[in-house]
Symmetry: none
Subunit: 226 residues, 2 copies
DNA sequence: AGGGTCCTTGACGGGTCCTTGACGGGTGAC
DNA sequence: GTCACCCGTCAAGGACCCGTCAAGGACCCT
């Protein structure tokens, strides 16, 4: 579930109020107080949506807008005190997804953010296929093919493999596996991991006794290697 | 390239004013004065964007919104006299792309339409007919034919099938099915799924005992396969 | 009120999957 | 060399899930 929002506003009071409300609604919040740090933050944190106040100290808000649109299609909701005028038109034509005038109702802003994120997800479906050797892991369809033929996985096997695939090349600790696949109550019962790692190797590896993709890190966890 | 806009408004004066202004800006305009003709017009003319007034004579504007969102992702800009209240939130959560309160500046509406169309272009084309083997699922008219003949579906059966059709080839989880067809309160009662999957197979599959389209993923959910 | 449709709920057989235990091999510590 | 620990393997029982049939009852239309 992706829901990180970048709030760009130079008024500390408003920025803080926004952050508190957003966090209360389950958002992860990153804030920036000027244009330069906004562009930096967007580049480094990859938010799912941006709330951008046009009145910034260091550069015109429209410049920030143009700067963002230069490289990303992340939804941008513009916030402005200017009720009338060409600002709205200009902002929307520059690529803003929505325009809210201050003062605004918090629940309206929330709804507009949800709408913006929803559109953003439709436009660019996240990570879909993970390829590992002759394996293709289709995260959207929850299916695996090996050299083109379907491999039948049980729900637990899939859950296990999915977590590894989403962390391709990175070590996934035993604790993380147990927590996400079996639930927090089963952390410590690492026998599960051995059984299911073996089952997956039997289904996915050319030589299950000498795995090349599903690698064990003794005492630590497992890694899916490309 | 002339863009087509569907204007849904029951006030002739406003509708005419909108049409004139839009045509002056190079739009091709189709108008509808009530909800039913709006849905028909959307299905037959495939507009690039819809301007929808919430105050309609025959049905609630939100119903029209939901009716459109059932089968198309065409951008919808909602027009309303109601300045405040939950209407905005409701409309946006139902899938509206933007919300403009009357009175509004014509150039602002133009800008919002441009923005909406621009986003709509990035999204995938609207899904109207889904073809699966000898089945044709008409999402706009909520009908199914099998080898050309109509298949009678109950409302719940349709709702079940529609969700699968909109995610053709993708696994729809049990939770998602239960939430969207029976409501969030019934998540967990997967017995429903078995009953309705069997009913649909009896109506849609050549050999209900060996389904080729409505596929079960044990423990996960169902997929509609082409 | 009556008939019909549709949703809900129960029971049951068959099959799959999860859990659990036991065992052997490899490795490092002492 | 022995011990402890962790990993991988195999097998079996029981729990869970799926598909199916059918009946009760709510709801709607006439």
């Amino acid at each position: 579930m992706s829901r990180k929002v970048l709030v760009v506003d130079d008024e500390p009071a408003l920025a803080r109020a926004l952050a508190i409300n957003l966090r209360a609604h389950g958002w992860e919040v990153v804030t920036a107080a000027d244009g330069r740090s906004a562009l930096d933050a967007a580049a480094t944190t990859h938010p799912d949506v941006v709330v951008l106040d046009l009145g910034l100290p260091d550069m015109d808000g429209t410049e920030v807008l143009a700067g963002l649109r230069g490289w990303t299609k992340v939804p941008i909701v513009v916030l402005s005190a200017r009720q009338h005028g060409e600002d709205k038109v200009e902002a929307l034509d520059l690529g803003a997804d929505d325009y809210v005038t201050k003062p605004f109702a918090m629940n309206e802003l929330m709804a507009r953010l949800r709408a913006a994120v929803r559109r953003g997800e439709e436009a660019e479906p996240a990570l879909v296929d993970v390829e590992v050797g002759s394996l293709v892991i289709d995260l959207a369809r929850k299916r695996v093919t090996r050299a083109g033929v379907d491999v039948r996985l049980t729900p637990t096997e899939w859950s296990f493999l999915e977590l590894l695939a989403r962390n391709l090349g990175r070590l996934v600790t035993r604790e993380q596996l147990l927590r996400e696949v079996w639930g927090p109550a089963h952390v410590g019962e690492s026998h599960y991991l051995r059984v299911y790692a073996a089952q997956l190797r039997r289904k996915l590896e050319d030589d299950p006794a000498h795995p090349r993709h599903l690698i064990t890190s003794p005492g630590l966890g497992y890694t899916l290697e490309a």
